[in-house]
């Protein structure tokens, strides 16, 4: 008897308790409930995972009540777990728990402590439902649920209007993606006659009509949904602004778990995508473009969290790219490792920010490495994994992706080159971030650190997650992606690593990046001012900094027009109403005209009567 159902149930319970107590509980209790529920869930996941590996069945199912049955439409609350979802579950609960733990320290000074964990638990619950649901509607429930929590948490400090706008932006933009997804659901139901994921996949494998244009459409719609959630081009614009949320939120939702939901979705619906080259190509292209754009953007950001946000975008781009070129397992593997090191990076940056009184501008930092050793080390490890230095987890996954791209993708050269350039850029901006933050001379004098916030009492709270995540970021890759490869059986493409120029090149790129980065940003050999003075680079940096002007584009194309139509007083109260007002006007007009006849003069009255007499006379006699 496996306790599958209990995994989501625990965070849900936590959420309910915190919600109903309306923050009347003492903080210690809140933190133990908030973090504890997730922790238990994590333990339970471990237990279930052990059961799973030991049992020979390839899926665990836990049914509960029927959701709805209408005619042939039939969905129920049914949890369905295979290796793929299990990986996701482990990442969510594991990383989730560490971040919760960290958050107990990070948020300890903020008001709304209980509300925070309330939302966080709800998020974990929704995310679990997303990956464990056995039908697409349940998945959609989780999908929307995480969107909601992300909205709530981005706008957590609801007193700051900007944060509110950021939250709304995140929700609405992802909602656009969700609309694609839900239409995809309709289409799948129309085709398959059911929303059961497994039935759908079987249908796709066996009885999908050929040529599968419908299938391609389905895949593209799914991709639309994924793009929205995972902040890929063209719906990526919300993610940088989402950094308004507290750092643990950025770590959990906008780095480790939610944003990777899109990857999971595509991986989950693999059999549909396998059928359509076009769709696969689109996936790869989306990934690649995002990767490219995001890397450049990250290169010129000044806000440390925005750097990390763009880097997240680009890393997820890698995952999409991997899926697109058929490196399913590699993509999933990267998802996992990325969850580890990106979470680590965020948490570390979080401590830095906290130590700097919520200063996020890197140019105002510098030389922090001896003041904040632990975050520094954590950051270092994370960056190493991010730039994929050998033997870090990031290395294994990214390397696998690049190799597969080379071996297996349609436009191998192009794809591979772009991917490699991006890898190079990754190292560049990572080095830049590290240098600006931790090395060089202190840039601004506001450096009396709130020690207590960092060392005492939250020390142990902060350090342990750092430690564990750091270990994972290094060792997370050693199990090799064979671990994930059996998720897809033979469908995935494997690229064994053996020495040839390409492999060496891929190996070398990160180092090159680091070295160049060092010369560019750290050493004085290159005069940075000269580069920046140059008008071209100035222009470029502006362009990149704005995230390639997507925000501006959408603003002018969509937001401003909509606002204009909506906000202008012209239609505050409803053009349609004018029609009825017109009727009213006409009626009263006729009333006034007719009333003019009522003069009160008898002789005039008599006259009208005689006139009427004539009229009737005509009507009767001559008609």
């Amino acid at each position: 008897m496996h306790l599958l159902w209990a995994i989501p149930a625990l965070p849900l319970a936590g959420f309910l308790i915190l919600f109903l107590t309306e923050g009347r509980l003492p903080r210690s209790v809140v933190s133990s409930i908030g973090a504890g529920s997730v922790g238990l869930a994590a333990l339970l996941t471990g237990y279930v995972a052990w059961q799973f590996t030991s049992s020979d069945s390839s899926e665990f199912v836990s049914s509960s009540w029927t959701w709805m049955i209408v005619g042939e439409f039939n969905v129920s609350f049914r949890l369905w777990v295979d290796a793929l979802s299990l990986v996701m579950v482990s990442v969510i609960t594991g990383v989730g728990f560490l971040i919760h733990w960290y958050a107990t320290g990070y948020m300890s000074e903020e008001e709304g402590y209980s509300r925070f964990f309330c939302y966080m638990n709800l998020f974990v619950f929704a995310m679990l439902i997303l990956v464990m649901g056995d039908n697409l509607l349940l998945l959609f429930l989780g999908w929307e649920g995480v969107g909601l929590c992300s909205y709530l948490l981005i706008g957590f400090f609801h007193k700051v209007p900007e944060f509110g706008y950021a939250a709304r932006k995140a929700f609405v933009v992802t909602r656009v993606g969700d609309t694609f997804l839900i239409i995809a659901l309709f289409l799948i139901f129309k085709q398959v006659g059911s929303l059961q994921i497994q039935e759908g996949l079987t249908f796709a494998r066996e009885s999908m009509p050929d040529p599968a244009t419908i299938n391609t459409i389905i895949c593209l719609l799914l991709l639309g949904g994924a793009v929205g959630k995972s902040a890929q081009v063209p719906l990526q614009t919300w993610l940088p602004d989402a950094m308004a949320g507290p750092t643990p939120v950025s770590a959990l939702i906008h780095a480790a778990t939610m944003v990777t939901a899109g990857v999971y979705l595509i991986a989950r619906m693999q059999d549909f995508f396998m059928l359509s080259q076009t769709a696969m190509l689109c996936v790869a292209a989306v990934g690649l473009v995002t990767l490219f754009i995001a890397s450049f953007t990250a290169l010129v950001q000044s806000d440390i969290k925005r750097v990390l946000a763009y880097s997240t975008m680009s890393q997820i781009g890698y995952m999409f790219f991997a899926l697109g070129v058929g490196a399913w397992s590699a993509g999933l593997f990267h998802l996992m490792t990325h969850a580890f090191f990106k979470a680590l990076l965020f948490l570390a940056s979080g401590s830095v920010i906290l130590a700097m009184h919520h200063e996020q501008n890197m140019f105002k930092m510098g030389g922090l490495w001896k003041k904040l050793p632990i975050p520094f080390i954590a950051m270092l490890v994370g960056s190493a994994a991010l730039v994929a230095l050998p033997l870090t987890s990031g290395f294994f996954s990214k390397d696998a992706i690049l190799l597969t791209a080379w071996k297996n993708s349609p436009y191998a050269i192009l794809f591979w080159t772009v991917a490699v350039i991006a890898a190079f850029l990754t190292s560049l901006y990572t080095v830049r971030m590290m240098v600006l933050t931790f090395f060089g001379k202190p840039q601004s004098e506001m450096h009396e650190l709130k020690k207590e916030s960092l060392w005492h009492p939250s020390r142990i709270r902060t350090v342990v997650p750092f430690g564990l995540l750091a270990v994972l970021s290094i060792a997370g890759g050693w199990m090799g992606f064979e671990f994930t490869s059996d998720l897809f059986g033979d469908k995935g493409v494997h690229a064994e690593f053996h020495f040839d120029p390409i492999a060496l090149l891929t190996l070398g790129i990160p180092f090159a990046g680091v070295v160049v980065g060092y010369f560019l940003f750290a050493s004085d050999l290159v005069d940075r001012r000269k580069i920046i003075k140059n008008r071209l680079s100035d222009l470029l940096s502006k362009f990149w900094h704005s995230g390639w002007g997507f925000d501006w584009l959408y603003d002018t194309l969509v937001v401003k027009p909509f606002r204009f139509i909506a906000q202008t007083r012209t239609n505050r109260n409803d053009i349609v109403d004018l029609f009825f007002k017109l009727i009213k006007f006409l009626a009263s007009l006729f009333h006034h005209i007719l009333s003019m006849f009522q003069t009160g003069h008898v002789r005039w009255y008599a006259f009208t009567m005689v006139g009427g007499l004539l009229l009737v006379f005509l009507a009767v006699v001559w008609i």
Partner: protein
Amino acid sequence: MSVMLLILLLLGAGVVAWVSERVNTTLPNWIALITFVATTLWVLVIWFNGPDTDGLYANLNREWIPRFGIDLHLRVDALSLMLIGLTTFLGIVAVVSSWTETKTRHGFFQFNILWVMAGVIGVFSAFDLFLFFFFWEVMLIPMYFLIAIWGHEDKEYASMKFFLFTQISGLLMLVAIVALVWINYNISGVLTFDYDVLKEANLDIATARLLMLGFFIAFITKLPSVPVHTWLPDAHTQAPTAGSVILAGILLKTGAYGIIRFVVPMFNEASKEFWVWGMSLGVISILYGGYLAYSQTDFKRLVAYSSIAHMGFILVGVYSFSKLGTQGAIITMIAHGFSTAALFMMAGAIQERLHTREMSKMGGLWVRAPRMGAVTMFFVVASVGMPGLGNFIGEFLVLIGAFQKSVVLTVFAAIGIVVAAVYGLSLMQRSFQGVPNPDVPKMHDFAFREMSVMVLLMIALVWVGIYPQSLLQMTAPLLSELLRPTL
């Protein structure tokens, strides 16, 4: 028989409440509250006793005006029972929501509330077209009084507009009903207003079209759908809280009920030809309503327009002529009843505290009243269509049903979901988030009275959201009867 008793009980209680005003000004509130609680429990009892062999929960058929074959024919099947339950339950909400709001003539106020409810229950259970029309008009008068006496600054205009729209469209329906009966009389020689008989009247398609239009216009005016929706925002804005709650929660549903119960089954072929128009009207309402909702600055007005958008989904669902769509429409009726009632109650509560509905004068209320903030958030999220809450179920079923009929229209309707997110969240942000507005007076948060009702509504919504099957399985047997030979 039990229905008649229910109606009489409400009527009687109304009179008692009115009289009891002389004793004590809060006594009427208590009487009304007790009545509604009792009726709700009663309905629940009927509910759990389950239907009889032919799926009816109650049935009463007496002669009323034999000269024209008009009967007092009240019948409760699953659909009616659900809506009656909704009615009595929202009765509780209405009474509680305006517990302290009315400053004058408490007795007459409660009298009107109780009588509206009686009329509505009659509408939901009348199976004789004349009787239906009778109740249809009767329920308007107390509603008119509610708006006209206890309404806000612009009540004369609003109440007049409300009454004119519904009455005039009602006249068309009366003509259609009488014509239908008369034609049936000439064909079959039987002069009767009975639903079951007239449903079988074999009209030639041209006549059927005209008659259907008569009914259709009346119902979409009540629903309301673009282009005859303009009475709703004014009526809502000006009505007292209880009025808005009843109006949005129940009276709009009578329109939807009419379409589901009368237009589609009685003029089946005609409506089937008509589906494009029906669905398009629905889609237009969804988009136009949502767009107007966003452009409002008045809390209540915004919610009013949003319910126009939601009602659009009902049209789309019904005119998809699929089981999914119809079920979706029914669920939407219930869920929207809960969510909008709550939102209007919230609007009333805010107005009672701040004496304004202008969102520009609000802002940062969350700090002042976190509970109200959380509650509003919940219901905004619900009406935005969050899975796991009632509204989503309805809209999803509607859309997936409509998708089988027309892809394009469904896609447009689905865009409505995004729009909903836009105005919903902007409502939330403009009123509750942001910097606390300095010139907003201190306001006290929800106390037990309001909170208890809100919690009830939340539970109801979650229940509809995660276990809609409990409702779906009730109405499932009706579908074939409602949709006639289709499917």
